[in-house]
């Protein structure tokens, strides 16, 4: 059984069909990619997986649990989906800018820790222990991403590429089984991109999770992905390994246009 399964998913905004009858699977421990030209509906797909949008038709299943389908009572709230094990990063970085780098990761532990407002009064020692444990775990994540030296810097002030890494760090803190990366290489230079490929692979192995990425950089996608789904105008036009997808005529047409002979 697939870890994440989208079956026959359609999303309409009024008269506009953003995604139509889409099937998409991500297996455990797999690095998968969702690609397509601008406006193909990739971000809409992410928003349906994370619960930001309700699906109009079809069903999204994660780890055997229905998280989004046309019955609205089945649609889970985004924070519940995070608890189930899906975390994401954003195309336009959305860190908590005025918090420190460390606190951004600490915030990621929210769903896997408990201390509430009353623990301050009634269980201070328990709260302190949880806080200390989380700080150690957060530092481990920062060390893994080689960000430990800037742990106390303000998140809004660190370089762009580093902010992207930090977003991944914050997502890792929620202990995801599936990590959604929305254009992780955007704005990176070629050496940063090479490092990113390594990082994504090592994250997958170290944290034993699956990755689904949306990315425009084809070199990176073809290099890293074990399974690629191509969408255009909200429909799936191809699916398979890198070489299969590259040979597909519909894909070539979608990206380069039809030849006129």
């Amino acid at each position: 059984m697939a870890l994440l399964e989208l079956k026959n998913v359609t999303k309409r905004f009024g008269g506009l069909t953003a995604v139509e009858a889409l099937d998409l699977d991500v297996q455990e421990h797999q690095i998968a990619a969702l690609i397509g030209p601008n406006g193909a509906g990739k971000t809409t797909v992410f928003n349906m997986i994370t619960g930001a949008y309700h699906v109009t038709e079809g069903r999204v299943t994660f780890n055997g649990t229905v998280i989004n389908d046309e019955k609205s009572y089945n649609a889970m709230k985004p924070h519940k989906i995070v608890e189930l094990g899906i975390a994401r990063t954003f195309q336009n970085i959305r860190l908590f800018k005025k918090m420190s780098v460390l606190d951004n990761v600490m915030t990621g532990f929210h769903s896997v820790s408990k201390a509430g407002m009353f623990n301050i009064i009634f269980k201070p020692s328990e709260m302190k222990r949880e806080e200390d444990e989380n700080r150690v775990k957060a530092m481990k994540i920062l060390e893994f991403l080689k960000l430990q030296d800037i742990a106390n810097s303000q998140a809004g002030g660190i370089p762009y590429g580093t902010q992207r890494l930090l977003e991944i760090g914050r997502a890792l803190a929620t202990r995801p089984k599936l990590l959604l990366l929305d254009e992780p290489a955007a704005g990176m230079n070629s050496s940063e991109k090479k490092a990113l490929v390594k990082t994504i692979r090592s994250i997958r192995d170290e944290y034993n999770l699956a990755v689904l990425l949306v990315e425009h950089d084809m070199e990176l996608v073809m290099d890293i992905s074990e399974d690629i789904t191509v969408v255009n105008f909200g429909r799936r036009i191809a699916h398979g390994t890198a070489s299969e997808v590259q040979a597909n005529e519909d894909v070539i047409e979608a990206y380069l246009g039809r030849s006129d002979d």
């Binding site: 994370t50 930001a52 709230k77 985004p78 924070h79 995070v82 608890e83 975390a87 994401r88 954003f90 959305r94 860190l95 908590f96 800018k97 005025k98 918090m99 606190d103 600490m106 915030t107 990621g108 532990f109 929210h110 769903s111 896997v112 820790s113 408990k114 201390a115 509430g116 407002m117 623990n119 301050i120 009064i121 709260m127 949880e130 806080e131 989380n134 914050r170 997502a171 929620t174």
Partner: protein, 314 residues
């Protein structure tokens, strides 16, 4: 170690304040500073840290004060009973308001809370059998705790100081905890907060109710100090003074409410020499502060302290 040392010094200095106060008139202003620090801390958590603007804090302050006044004058209930009832009833009222109110954001939330403030004021005026209307409630007793009566303003100062310290301490621990990070995350980017696993709706409600609990404590302290409550105290102007207390000191800073409380309570008194122009000058000064120190006074005081430290170490 060093930090603890300074904390002890500051606390000792605070305890010594009544020694420097020449008369009851000034002592009452000092006590009001304490009450406004508590109110300012409450709105600092809600607006400064969680990013939800409220213009109706006077309503919760008023509910706390009236619950205390009514319980004490009708049943003779003592301080702690009044305080707990005040917290529970104010908290319940804020919960009832928060659930619909926090579905809206920014200016709409501000308007909604302001409207709530007006409703509460009108209830105070018109629910005469309970609130005694515009005449207000007289003859509230001074608090008696374990046989000790806080019947002078100097004694009352220490009772207020206790709650000020408690309120500031709770704020500090809270903001540096899991809940505090959730609050700040909501202020910074509520959508990203939700997608980081934070139940944004319930945390906004928590912040709202918590800030009203600060108002409730301040309300009880106020009612038992002045020993009289009337609707005139809990007007829209009070809500804005509470908001300004947090703004002037520095929104989203731990000691901002202290600075704000001192400035907002002493400034009108210092300006008495202006006669009829007092409130005009007061308004102009506040405008200058907000234009020149948009982050509040705290960051500048910090810089000033750092400057003196450097000078001192030379």
């Amino acid at each position: 170690m060093n930090k603890k040392f300074w904390l002890v010094i500051v606390l000792a200095a605070a305890c010594a304040i009544p020694l420097a106060v020449p008369n009851d008139y000034i002592q009452q202003i000092v006590n009001m500073i304490g009450i406004y620090i508590i109110l300012g801390t409450g709105i600092n958590i809600l607006t400064g840290y969680t990013g939800q603007l409220s213009l109706g804090q006077a309503a919760f302050f008023g509910i706390g004060a009236y619950v205390t006044a009514i319980l004490n004058t009708w049943t003779g209930a003592q301080f702690f009973v009044c305080l707990i009832a005040s917290i529970l009833i104010t908290g319940a009222a804020s919960l009832v308001l928060a659930i619909p109110a926090l579905k809206v954001k920014g200016p709409y939330l501000a308007l909604l809370t302001q409207g709530f403030g007006e409703i509460i004021r009108i209830v105070m005026i018109n629910w005469t059998p309970v609130t005694n209307g515009t005449a207000g409630i007289l003859k509230i007793e001074s608090p008696r705790i374990f046989g000790f009566t806080f019947d002078t303003l100097t004694r009352y100062f220490y009772l207020t100081l206790f709650f000020v310290v408690l309120g500031l301490l709770y704020q500090k621990i809270l903001i540096e905890s899991r809940t505090g990070r959730a609050f700040i995350a909501i202020r910074e980017d509520s959508e990203a907060a939700e997608l980081t696993g934070i139940n944004v709706t319930t945390y906004k409600i928590r912040s709202f109710v918590l800030s009203s609990v600060y108002c409730a404590v301040a309300g009880t302290l106020y009612a038992m100090m002045i020993r009289y409550v009337s609707p005139d105290t809990f007007i829209a102007n009070t809500s804005s003074v509470i908001l300004w207390t947090a703004i002037v000191g520095g929104f989203g800073t731990l000691i901002g409410p202290i600075i704000g409380g001192v400035v907002m309570q002493t400034l009108p008194e210092l300006l008495r020499f202006c006669g009829n122009w007092r409130l005009v000058v007061y308004g102009i000064i506040l405008l200058i502060v907000i234009l020149h120190f948009p982050g509040g006074l705290y960051p500048y005081i910090q810089k000033l302290l750092a400057f003196f430290k450097r000078k001192g170490s030379r």
